[in-house]
């Protein structure tokens, strides 16, 4: 018998086996990789209730009967000895009065009350963030990841509550002098510094505020600052050369630099922290955090993680007097790609992912055990024109561009609907927000305005940076403008080149510039300060030589000094109106921030700037 057929059979068998294995493995891989996410029925979670006997004041209608006895004089006529005689006698008359009265009666009642949720102590909260912090010194750190991470260890003198009202933090209260130049801050007692284990004093706060002048990047948030000095152990006086109305808000604003409090370290204390005076002079707190906050840094590796443990000597307690924080620690995992962050939270590698793209929301919502939180943020997309050159030096031409852009479509196509259309340079949640729908989408009107100016066609460049969603926004804007014969070539550059070109005024060579900035809660820090900054100058000072003529300069100065809330609101409204009417820039959208969070994470509060989290009062279910 020949062996050839056997060989052939074995080979065939091998091929068949391999083929089957490939089909099975490929099929499984394709199935798992492409199967639609399991849709989990979302049920409304009922709040757990328990019954409780409570004494309550209940309004009860009572019939009150009272017998009123009163003396009544009556005239009695009688005959005494045949002579009629009249005399007055006093008798007691009894009268019964009945009336219905509503009285409050204390009664016992069985009521249903929400079961008290007991926070659980322990566990590590893992968060996928955008990037590693560049620097742990809160007065130097310029970037979002640094500020966010710094907040776990450092604290402010004041904070915002959810309605953006000022609430105490390290300072209990304040007083302002009559001339509005001096603020007296009264500090909380018994607050301990991490690592060095000594109490926070006025010396530390004065040092911290004066240090903002040492670092220019903090200084711009404290204009006309004179000095801060300790009056006694718990009182600090802060003096300005000119009134600076937003001072307290800047102290609380998470995006403002220089407002977190750092200690004034002696040489001995520097040793405890692991620094020499020389190191500290060179690098400050760049690699060593010493704050009063709820968490202390334990380990970090740029690009991989930052780990924090709880500060067991933290000063704050919850409303029931329980020690904060609840969590044992935090871990930040930097991941620049939004889609990968979404997968990390789905895989359970992290408990929360920041900055989820709107397009990834359905898959997160369909994943069991995850929820999404969404909120309009502070990321503001707008475009500006070169005012120095014709034809945009003519306001009608800028209006034409504004009319040519369909903002709803920009939001839908460039941001997958994740945000809101901007009708002002402030987001709608800002208490001073006013919508100015002056230039709604109307391409015919745009063409008519261009005709009035005598322009039939424009060619040029649409300039912006490569960070999402700027390029997609530019593509949609390019198409809308092409409809009215404004034909622009898109030019995108990386962020470093973009900022450098703004700084060097090179943007003047571009017809239209796409710009994004991160807004702040307070109007002066948000709009006023930006008017003369590169971010703002792109659309104001640099491009518009008539900025003062528009009245914006005066408004900015007013916002810096005016303390009266009503007048500030009016100034902010005027600023928004002029901005829109003069087409300083064309507001396009405010992007929504989305978080994907494991449902086990409880009591998390987010704020629009995505820097400030209530780390101390978050807890994690087992």
């Amino acid at each position: 018998m020949s062996t050839a057929p056997k060989k052939l059979d074995r080979r065939k068998f091998l091929y068949a086996g391999l083929g089957a294995a490939i089909v099975v493995v490929g099929g499984l891989a394709a199935y798992f990789a492409t199967r639609p996410p399991e849709v989990v029925e979302k049920t409304v979670v009922q709040t757990q209730v328990q019954t409780q006997v409570q004494t309550v004041e209940k309004p009860v209608e009572k019939v009150i009967t009272q017998t009123i006895e009163r003396p009544v004089e009556r005239t009695v006529v009688t005959t005494i000895a045949g002579t009629p005689t009249t005399f007055v006698e006093t008798v007691t008359q009894t009268q019964v009065q009945t009336q219905v009265q509503t009285v409050k009666e204390v009664v016992e009642k069985t009521v249903e009350v929400p079961k008290e949720i007991q926070p659980i102590y322990g566990d590590i909260f893992k968060i996928a963030t955008f990037a590693s912090p560049s620097n742990f010194d809160p007065h130097v750190a310029p970037d979002h990841p640094s500020l966010m991470v710094a907040e776990t260890g450092y604290e402010y003198l004041f904070r915002y509550d959810q309605a953006f009202n000022l609430v105490p933090c390290l300072a209990e209260r304040y007083e302002v002098s009559g001339d509005k130049l001096e603020y007296t801050l009264f500090l909380k007692r018994g607050v301990l510094w991490q690592i060095i284990d000594r109490e926070l004093t006025a010396e530390d706060v004065a040092y911290s505020l004066n240090r903002t002048q040492e670092f220019g990047i903090s200084r711009s948030f404290f204009p006309n600052f004179d000095k801060a000095e300790a009056v006694d152990k718990y009182t600090v006086k802060v003096r300005f050369k000119q009134p600076f109305a937003p001072f307290l808000f800047v102290l609380a604003n998470p995006g403002a630099r220089g407002n977190m409090v750092v200690p004034k370290l002696s040489d001995e204390e520097l040793g405890k922290v692991g620094l020499t005076r020389e190191d500290f002079t060179k690098r400050g707190f760049a690699t060593n955090m010493v704050g009063t906050g709820p968490f202390m840094i334990t380990e970090f590796k740029r690009g991989e993680f930052e780990r924090f443990k709880k500060n067991t000597k933290y000063w704050a307690k919850d409303e029931k007097g329980r020690q904060l924080p609840y969590l044992d620690g935090l871990e930040f995992i930097p991941q620049p790609d939004a889609s990968i962050r979404a997968q990390l939270v789905r895989a359970g590698t992290v408990d929360m992912a920041l900055g989820i793209d709107a397009k990834d929301l359905p898959i997160i919502q369909a994943t069991k055990g995850l929820r999404t939180i969404g909120q309009i943020g502070t990321y503001f997309g707008h475009i500006g024109m070169n005012w120095k050159e014709k034809p945009f030096s003519d306001k009608r031409m800028r209006q034409a561009v504004a009319h040519a852009i369909n903002k709803e479509e920009v939001l839908k196509l460039a941001l997958a609907g994740g945000g809101e259309v901007a009708w002002s340079p402030l987001p709608s949640w800002n208490k001073d927000y006013k919508a100015f729908k002056t230039y709604e989408y109307n391409p015919e009107k745009a063409k008519a305005l261009m005709k009035e100016v005598g322009v039939t066609e424009i060619t040029g460049t649409l300039y912006g940076f490569t960070i999402s969603p700027a390029p997609d926004t530019m593509k949609v804007v390019q198409r809308h403008l092409a409809d009215v014969n404004i034909n622009l070539e898109i030019r995108t550059v990386d962020i470093g080149t973009y900022v450098a070109e703004l700084r060097n005024r090179d943007f003047q060579k571009h017809t239209i510039t796409m710009h994004i900035w991160v807004d702040k809660v307070e109007p002066w820090t948000s709009l006023g300060q930006r008017l003369y900054s590169p971010g703002g100058t792109a659309f104001a000072e640099g491009i518009n030589p008539d900025l003062e003529a528009t009245g914006l300069g005066a408004i900015r100065d007013g916002l810096a000094t005016e303390l009266d809330p009503a007048k500030r609101a009016k100034l902010t409204e005027d600023l928004q109106r002029i901005w829109v009417e003069e087409v300083v820039s064309i507001p396009l959208w405010f992007r929504a921030n989305y978080w994907a969070v494991n449902e086990k994470i409880k009591n998390m509060i987010v704020e629009p700037q995505t820097i400030n989290y209530n780390w101390e009062s978050i807890w994690k279910e087992k």
């Binding site: 711009s220 990390l344 359970g348 900022v499």
Partner: protein, 317 residues
């Protein structure tokens, strides 16, 4: 003929001028690129005053030649300076990133070699058969598949659906072998499978060429078993181009695994130099670049020495 040791000394002597030329070119290239660390860190909404102050604080207001000379002096002292973006020692940043990259590169290369060489040999031996077709197709897929796509697919499959492997981070396998290997599987597979395709193709073509040589015919005529002919006589010679490719690819892995490092959140050399370029952090870029230049020179040296071992006829000069 040059002795082995002299060859090594000569090669090592090229390190200094190569490093000097590289860092000079890189420094001035970074100077030409618009923007600096202050621009990047403060971002597009920054205040003009803030940018100016940060530039001064970071020493970016000094003329380029002064900064360059300062940097050169520090490099001579073995200090790459302080990162402008992070205020941390560049030496320390490199020392933190290097073990991650080395571990990843070695494990990826092991996977690539374990798959690439045997599959290349099988493909060459079974030339023009269905086995060859199948292996060649696999290799082609390996070469063609985009790394980021393969990485994302693996992340979805192993971390999200099966939940058997961690989706992020690096654990040193020498400190915690189980966790270390679990963290390495996906990134190593991602890089290794792609490389395996290259190695398989090179091994196949090289072995086919060698198998057609006269000395192989002689060996066959002598009645040597095919196994001996392939593994003892042909493979050693066929591996010379493979070693060249492996050397280059290993060097590239040390500097360019940025996609795998990004997808799997590992802070290796690739990510360090990438963030350095984006942040215009020239001490970091220079420090990493010099490290990579030295690594490449060393790898090339090793490759040349391996040539000598594989084929004693190869003489260095």
């Amino acid at each position: 003929m040059v002795s082995k040791y002299r060859f090594i000394y000569t090669r090592l002597a090229t390190v200094l001028p190569t490093a000097f030329i590289s860092l000079t070119i890189i420094f001035f290239l970074l100077e030409i690129v618009p923007g600096d660390t202050a621009d990047v860190l403060l971002g597009p909404g920054a205040n003009q005053q803030d940018i100016e102050f940060l530039r001064k604080m970071l020493g970016l207001d000094l003329p380029p030649h002064e900064r360059y000379l300062d940097f050169l002096v520090n490099v001579v002292k073995g200090d790459f300076g302080i990162s402008l973006a992070t205020s941390r020692s560049v030496n320390k940043l490199i020392m933190e990133a290097l073990p991650v990259t080395l571990t990843l590169a070695v494990s990826s290369m092991l996977i690539a070699l374990l798959i690439g060489i045997p599959s290349g040999i099988i493909s060459a031996i079974k030339r023009n058969t269905r086995t060859d077709l199948f292996v060649s197709f696999g290799a082609l897929v390996g070469i063609s598949v985009p790394g980021f796509w393969l990485g994302m697919l693996m992340l979805l499959f192993f971390a999200v659906y099966l939940k058997v492997l961690p989706g992020a981070g690096f654990v040193n396998p020498f400190l915690d072998p189980i966790e270390g290997i679990k963290h390495l599987i996906m990134p190593s597979l991602m890089l290794g499978l792609i490389l395996a395709g290259f190695i398989s193709r090179i091994t196949r073509s090289s072995l086919i060429e060698v198998m057609l040589q006269d000395y192989i015919l002689t060996a066959r005529a002598k009645g040597l078993p095919e196994r001996i002919i392939i593994y003892k006589h042909a493979l050693k010679n066929a591996l010379i181009p493979v070693v060249t490719v492996v050397g280059f690819q290993f060097g590239a892995l040390l500097g360019g695994a940025v996609i795998a490092e990004t997808i799997f959140t590992m802070s290796g050399i690739g990510k360090l130099i990438y963030s350095g370029i984006i942040d215009r952090d020239f001490p970091v870029v220079e420090g990493v670049a010099i490290t990579m230049v030295l690594t490449f020179i060393l790898i090339n040296l090793v490759v040349d020495l391996v040539y000598m071992y594989l084929d004693p006829r190869v003489r260095l000069g």
